[in-house]
């Protein structure tokens, strides 16, 4: 029988390893491993999630549902896993909704000065507990006229500290990480406030200039005044088609702490949709990162990066715009990673019930084909509503598995359709060589799930999950792992952006596209996790956004390594 290493014992061993890091730098040409620490060997092989309350995390996602059914109420909120103080431990940032008054024509005032409606940053302590550092970090002011939605994380100024971008219904906020545990609201200087209803956002380098740019999806052309309810006897939230579509935003990083709105010049604004999720990957291998936007009841958008500062939306031509039946998806969350280990990034898109979650398999040559049935999602998702989504190798067998948080949009959906549920447990589906099969997600407790962020919270080599749900405390699904091996890589770009976003990293035949984006409204651990199965060493190949390629052979399994981009 497997022996599970207690979390405290593990973290203690981690601390010891961390202490030797500086002295044990490895230099293996052409890859430079700047830091490394090994986790203790783990027993057992099955991935076993356990839903756990994190000590010190007292956040509640307050969405303020009203009888007026303001649509914003059912859409938040994001969560980010980031190491804001570079202590090697993942911290957690939650986006809160706000207080919506239950009156006709409620104003744009969401009581965000009330601590109950603050966004929250929790710093992880060495003992695995968390401390709320929101106020001392300077993140308490979320803007009284902002109803919170999502979060993106990236080191936009390459100073080595992750910055936080919060999307809102209202004005978005960019918090610069000062490197001393505090943040400064630099939105006005940076020029990235956007406006209207922003949803997911993500940092990526659109022109490979070594600086992270910022993409923001926007959901609807909507306001409190324009709000209306749908349904007759039982009023409920209106579908997005009841409101005008709107453009997404691309901000180009000028490198001086400011951004330029290039939405029109780049061609991004040529398309209006109902954008929710966003994910990035170079799907056609031309060296430039492309953008996929999950739209709600609109064609999905695949923005091909032309490499000259412009994008061409080619979802329909690429086969990634519509379901196999030619229907529009109610796209919510999206992840853009390679699930079948053919080296090409595929798309997994969550949506509302009666159609399975969609898998657009990358066929090469810029083409996708709907493969959700052969991938197994026909039997996994027909009556569920999916939001946050991740493709991570939870069982370290070398195949990326799927984790999806679920719950319907309507808080009274049972009154409309007895076969649907507002609250649902999450879905864990393990990947058996390209076919997903349901597994124990660690909790059957139904929640109105929304955001999800993925990362190795306790640095044990097994990817954990943090999710948010409306009106409730977040859920943490700790992965207690097993015996199989793993490797976790932190990229450090030099010519490329420091986070290495956009790099293609291949380890023992698996491929990951470096990004913190994906899921729904959320931001993931930027470290690249690879399950190695029974392999005790790994061969690594990296193609950086700069074009530089690096390779490393025979890297020992079960360790965290930092790889710095080599000189050209």
């Amino acid at each position: 029988m497997a022996r599970r290493i207690p979390r405290r014992e593990f973290l203690a061993s981690l601390g010891a390893a961390g202490a030797t890091t500086a002295a044990s730098l490895l230099s293996l040409a052409p890859v430079r491993i700047l830091a490394g620490y090994s986790a203790a060997a783990k027993p057992k092989s099955d991935p076993i999630f356990q839903a756990k309350a994190l000590k010190g995390v007292d956040f509640v996602l307050r969405n303020s549902p009203t009888s007026r059914k303001y649509l914003i109420e059912t859409m938040p909120g994001g969560v980010a896993l980031l190491d804001y103080n570079n202590d090697g431990l993942l911290d957690i940032f939650f986006v809160n909704g706000g207080h919506v008054r239950d009156i006709v024509g409620a104003t744009m005032s969401f009581d965000r000065r009330n601590p109950a409606y603050w966004n929250r940053l929790y710093r992880q302590n060495p003992d695995g507990t968390f401390t709320d550092v929101t106020q001392q970090a300077g993140l308490a002011d979320a803007g009284n006229s902002n109803y919170g939605m999502g979060v993106a994380v990236g080191d936009y100024d390459n100073d080595g500290f992750p910055d936080i971008y919060v999307t809102n219904f209202g004005k978005n906020i960019l918090y610069h990480n000062n490197g001393d545990g505090t943040f400064t609201d630099v939105t006005a200087k940076a020029g990235v406030a956007a406006g209207g209803w922003s949803a997911s956002a993500g940092f990526f380098d659109c022109d490979n200039d070594g600086r992270l740019d910022l993409f923001v999806t926007r959901y609807l052309d909507w306001s409190m005044e324009k709000s209306k309810t749908c349904g007759s006897e039982r009023p409920t939230y209106c579908p997005p088609g009841e409101f005008p579509a709107i453009t997404n935003i691309l901000y180009h990083n000028r490198g001086d702490g400011t951004f330029e709105d290039v939405s029109v010049a780049s061609g991004i604004a040529a398309k209006k949709g109902h954008g929710l999720g966003v994910a990035f990957a170079d799907y056609d291998g031309d060296g430039f990162t492309d953008i996929f936007v999950a739209n709600d009841v609109t064609n999905q958008f695949l923005f091909h990066n032309n490499g000259n500062g412009t994008f061409t939306e080619c979802g329909l031509e690429s086969g990634a715009a519509l379901s196999e039946n030619g229907k529009m998806l109610s796209g919510m969350g999206v992840v853009f990673q390679d699930y079948d280990n053919d080296g090409l990034p595929d798309l997994l898109i969550t949506q509302l019930p009666h159609e399975p979650y969609v898998v657009f398999h990358n066929e090469g040559r810029g083409l996708f084909s709907a493969q959700e049935l052969t991938a197994g999602f026909g039997v996994l998702s027909g009556n569920s509503s999916g939001w946050g989504v991740g493709l991570e190798d939870f069982d370290n067998d070398g195949w990326k598995d799927a984790f999806i948080v679920q719950g319907h949009v309507f808080d009274n959906v049972e009154m409309y359709d007895g076969s649907l549920r507002y609250r649902e447990p999450p879905l864990l589906a393990l990947n058996h060589k390209g076919r997903f099969v349901k597994a124990d997600a660690g909790s059957d407790v139904p929640v109105a799930g929304r955001g999800a962020a993925f990362g190795d919270l306790n640095n044990d080599g097994w990817v954990d999950v943090i999710t948010t749900s409306l009106g409730e405390a977040p859920q943490c699904y700790l992965n207690y792992g097993g015996e199989l091996h793993w490797l976790t890589i932190t990229l450090r770009g030099k010519r490329s952006n420091r986070d290495g976003f956009g790099a293609r990293v291949q380890v023992n035949g698996q491929t990951r596209f470096a990004t913190a984006s994906g899921s729904y409204l959320s931001s993931n651990d930027k470290r690249l996790h690879f399950g190695l199965g029974s392999a005790e060493t790994a061969d690594i190949e990296i193609k950086w956004p700069s074009g530089i390629q690096q390779a490393l052979r025979g890297v020992k399994a079960n360790q965290f390594i930092v790889i710095e981009e080599s000189a050209p």
Binding site: E324, N325, G326, L367, G376, V379, S381, G418, S419
Partner: protein
């Protein structure tokens, strides 16, 4: 409906009996008619009432008085004089017609029925029968009325209500006489399914199957319950059972094929969908499903199936879907020009069908 029919009747009044009354009464009838023509119905009623007082045995006087009330839309006021007119002129169809409408309008449906039956006014009769709990008769009469006035929205509305009531009545009868019969459970299962109470529907169908395992259709319906809940493995089991029971059923083969496809068992799905196509050729839905299942494992077969869908469907949304699917296959095969043309066709049909949908009420 009632009012519309009433006004139809009032605009085209039926032949009434020749009056044989005194000159004084005749003068009052003329004065009342003149007032009616001026739409002064109160004046008309006053004149006709004086005439009735003068000659309480003249059926025409009571008919005119009732008619004036009807024109005033005072149906309650019309009933008494029309009943007197019916007593005095029992053979007058005009009197029966007005009295039937007046009674129906005032909610006396059962009293209206004999009068409406006499004049063969099927629409109003059907409505009266629906209101008196005779949905079977109501359906028959409303259908007869619709044969004369096809697509009349009011008649269609009442026919729909009557059919629903008839269905409920039949179900109630079935359950009261044979509460533990397979058909009884089947009916309950179907009701639960329509109300999307799937777990209860499953239980009802399982009871039905336990009682009559040989009854065709039970497994098909239970499979559909599972399919609606995306429980495809269980749906497959039921459809397979139905296909075994009815090897010649194209629907069982189609549904089994679809359940297999949803589970990603494409080769088995193709087998069943081809069998369905053989049993009942040229079903567009079967061919489309066959194309979907084959797209992964046998692109040539998929191409052929989608082409047949287009051939059969021409410009329907399903044809559009087939073009989209064909474009995907041809892009993968490197036939980009062909794929582009198919995408154009897809777009054209999308525009066309969106326009049609927009035009539909």
């Amino acid at each position: 409906m009632i009012h519309a029919l009433l006004w139809m009747c009032l605009l085209f009044p039926p032949q009434s009996a020749e009056p044989s009354v005194s000159p004084e009464v005749l003068t009052l009838l003329q004065a009342g008619t003149d007032a009616e023509n001026r739409s002064d119905f109160d004046q008309a009623i006053a004149a006709f009432r004086r005439a009735a007082n003068l000659d309480p045995t003249a059926g025409i006087v009571f008919f005119k008085l009732g008619d004036a009330y009807m024109k005033k839309r005072d149906f309650a006021g019309a009933i008494s004089p029309l009943q007197r007119a019916a007593e005095l002129s029992p053979e007058s169809l005009a009197v029966r017609q007005l009295l039937g409408y007046a009674l129906l309008a005032e909610g006396y449906a059962s009293q209206a029925i004999p009068h409406l039956t006499m004049i063969h006014e099927y629409g109003a009769l059907g409505i009266a029968q629906l209101q008196t709990g005779q949905p079977g008769e109501a359906v028959a009469n409303l259908q007869a009325a619709l044969a004369k006035s096809p697509d009349d929205p009011d008649l269609l509305f009442y026919l729909s209500r009557a059919a629903t009531a008839l269905s409920g009545q039949s179900l109630d009868r079935l359950l009261s006489v044979y509460p533990k019969s397979a058909r009884g459970y089947q009916a309950l299962g179907q009701t639960d399914y329509e109300m999307k109470v799937f777990p209860k529907a499953v239980m009802e169908y399982e009871q039905a199957i336990a009682i009559r395992p040989d009854l065709p259709g039970l497994r098909l319906e239970l499979g559909q319950v599972y399919a609606a809940g995306s429980e495809w493995e269980k749906a497959e089991e039921q459809f397979r059972g139905e296909a075994k029971l009815q090897p010649g059923s194209p629907e069982a083969a189609y549904r089994l094929g679809n359940a297999l496809m949803q589970q990603g068992k494409m080769k088995e799905a193709i087998e069943e969908l081809r069998r369905s196509d053989l049993l009942r050729p040229n079903m567009p839905e079967t061919l489309y499903a066959l194309g979907r299942a084959a797209a992964v494992v046998d692109p040539n077969l998929a191409e052929h199936a989608f082409a047949r869908v287009i051939e059969l469907e021409k410009e329907t949304p399903l044809a559009g879907q087939a073009y989209l699917a064909l474009a995907g296959i041809h892009r993968k095969q490197g036939k980009t020009e062909l794929a582009a043309r198919e995408m154009q066709e897809y777009g054209r049909i999308q525009t066309l069908t969106a326009g049609l949908e927009h035009k539909n009420p």
